[in-house]
Symmetry: none
Subunit: 198 residues, 4 copies
């Protein structure tokens, strides 16, 4: 009997997504260090060998997660930057609080940093990640410029400000380890306040 090709493809995509989600879940629950194929398989309720029907290697899974994550972030942040119904401050606020509120973002930032730190070999992956990171600064830079034109954001090089903004958010994200987070509240208002004229 002929298979339904479209349905098959959809199931396949769902399986890939299931595996990628399982990786992020595992990171949230057990940390980056315990990422191994058999744990991933257990989390996804697949057999070890079956994972390899969807991804060529463990690295490919991680690469794909990062690619997707950075891409989604790019789309998100670009859309926010282009909105005309809210002020630059509201835009920053929106970006900042969305980021800090998502569990996955923490795991995702962990992964990025972990790869940039860990891998000796995959120099080209690190380069790609860094390049995408740099590109993703541009929408934020645009928001900063907009804010400067409206005299709400302080007058520094807007790309530099974007860089500080993102690094600050990432730095804060890294402190939020589920079991051991630093006992200091953080709030989007306070963070954005740093970038405003007073």
């Amino acid at each position: 009997m002929a298979r339904n090709v479209i349905r098959d493809e959809k199931v396949r995509e769902e399986r890939k997504q299931l595996i990628m989600d399982s990786v992020l879940q595992l990171i949230v629950r057990k940390g980056v260090g315990s990422l191994n194929i058999s744990e991933i398989a257990k989390e996804a309720k697949l057999s070890v060998g079956n994972i390899y029907n969807f991804f060529k290697s463990k690295d490919e899974i991680l690469d794909e997660i990062l690619r997707k994550g950075q891409e989604e972030y790019r789309v998100f942040v670009t859309k926010v930057a282009e909105r005309e119904d809210i002020t630059p401050i509201e835009k920053l606020h929106f970006i900042c609080s969305s980021w800090l509120s998502l569990k996955n973002n923490w795991a995702f930032t962990m992964m990025i940093q972990s790869i940039r730190m860990n891998e000796t070999v995959r120099e080209e992956l690190k380069t790609v990640i860094t390049r995408r990171f740099t590109q993703n600064l541009q929408p934020i830079e645009k928001i900063m410029k907009e804010g400067q034109e409206q005299e709400i954001i302080i007058n520094e090089n807007p790309l530099e400000l974007a860089y500080y903004f993102v690094s600050l958010i990432q730095g804060l994200t890294l402190q939020q380890i589920p079991s051991n987070s630093v006992p200091v509240k953080m709030n989007a208002d306070g963070i954005i306040h740093l970038f405003m004229k007073k």
Copy 2:
């Protein structure tokens, strides 16, 4: 002839320091992921077995590096906070630029984050690191308070400001991977400016 116990102890300490330095060197050159005992031994020009005459385990080496690093940082930052000959802004500037200029700080920050991310087991080590991190916020908090009294630093919760300050510096540090750093300049002036009244 009786052994010179004090001298022996000194040699022993030097060896331990040699091993710990080798670890940081390796992280700078090859990343956290390729840290293993035989590489460490090669870097330190000792034999594998001999490493275990100075440390009980690989973990103990890492723990000790972190302990020492955080301790030195604590001493440094406390001293800076207590100085009476410079302004709070100058203090922040001093801390910020010292931190960003040292190669070892990068490797060290890597290690901290790596351990906080990686280890599933040693929950208590992560707790210790986080506790020390939190304690080390206090001198910065004090500087912030001082700056607020002098009406130079913005009026936010000073502990929160300290937290942002340190997270920002750490976030920036993590972008500075030797081979793949983000092509955006950063300068202490710009960073501190964020925390100043304008």
Copy 3:
């Protein structure tokens, strides 16, 4: 409507042959080591599972290739031996140059040797291959005898001569790896000359 059983059987045989041809193609292109079911399936443009509708196992495919190959060789060499229109020398020449000119023979010899070398388990398959090899010496032996009667072939035990003749051809075949063949010309004349009285 009743199925056309004969036609079905023919299609089935074609499929089996397609699979076996694909195996030999793969060996020529990629070597014996990379033979695996999914590669075979890809080469034959069938699905993995479907292969198992025609053969019970991978081993069965190999067995069948060997059986057919040795059988065809037997028929070929027997026919040549029985011809009355050409001299024994011409017979040897014919056998020798046919063998050396076919790409498939190289892959086929590879397979035989590979199985004889590789398999620990299927002792009985190796025995079968060796028995058929020995049987296939007989037509050659007959040609040698014929040549000796005509005083063209040297006077040694004709079975031994047949054995040398075939081993020599196989030995030469094995040197002819597509990408790395030994840079020495070989020609049927020279080879047969060894077995002739001079």
Copy 4:
């Protein structure tokens, strides 16, 4: 206590030789197909991990065996070719019967052919093996020339004769699978006779 460096090096060489011998033993007993690290370790009575203290990979073991084997053969055959106390026929006889009498030679020839057949990847190893094979034809070629000058060896291109001689011996060797050898006697006299004027 200081170690005896020279002794250590000797022990190390013995271990490497033990491992290489174990590989050849295994091939003789179980065939090329069952060569795997854990079998090798068992045969050598070492632990799996320990194998890797002496060789970087399984491939390195095989490479080293081949290198040594081809080198020893080169030395052997060169020495024989250069002898002045025996006739060319005696030289060929010596080479032929030494080769056919050694168990290891069979395993060794198996290995060479197996590698040339199996590996898709290690193109450069195959090239090296083929190059050395070709070089090792030269001493035989020299013997053939010498025989031709003395009008004992038939008048064909001596390099071609050498090629046939070696291929024939290899072809015969491959038939000598311990458990399934072809039931035809072979003898050095008969083989060499093929190359003699009659």
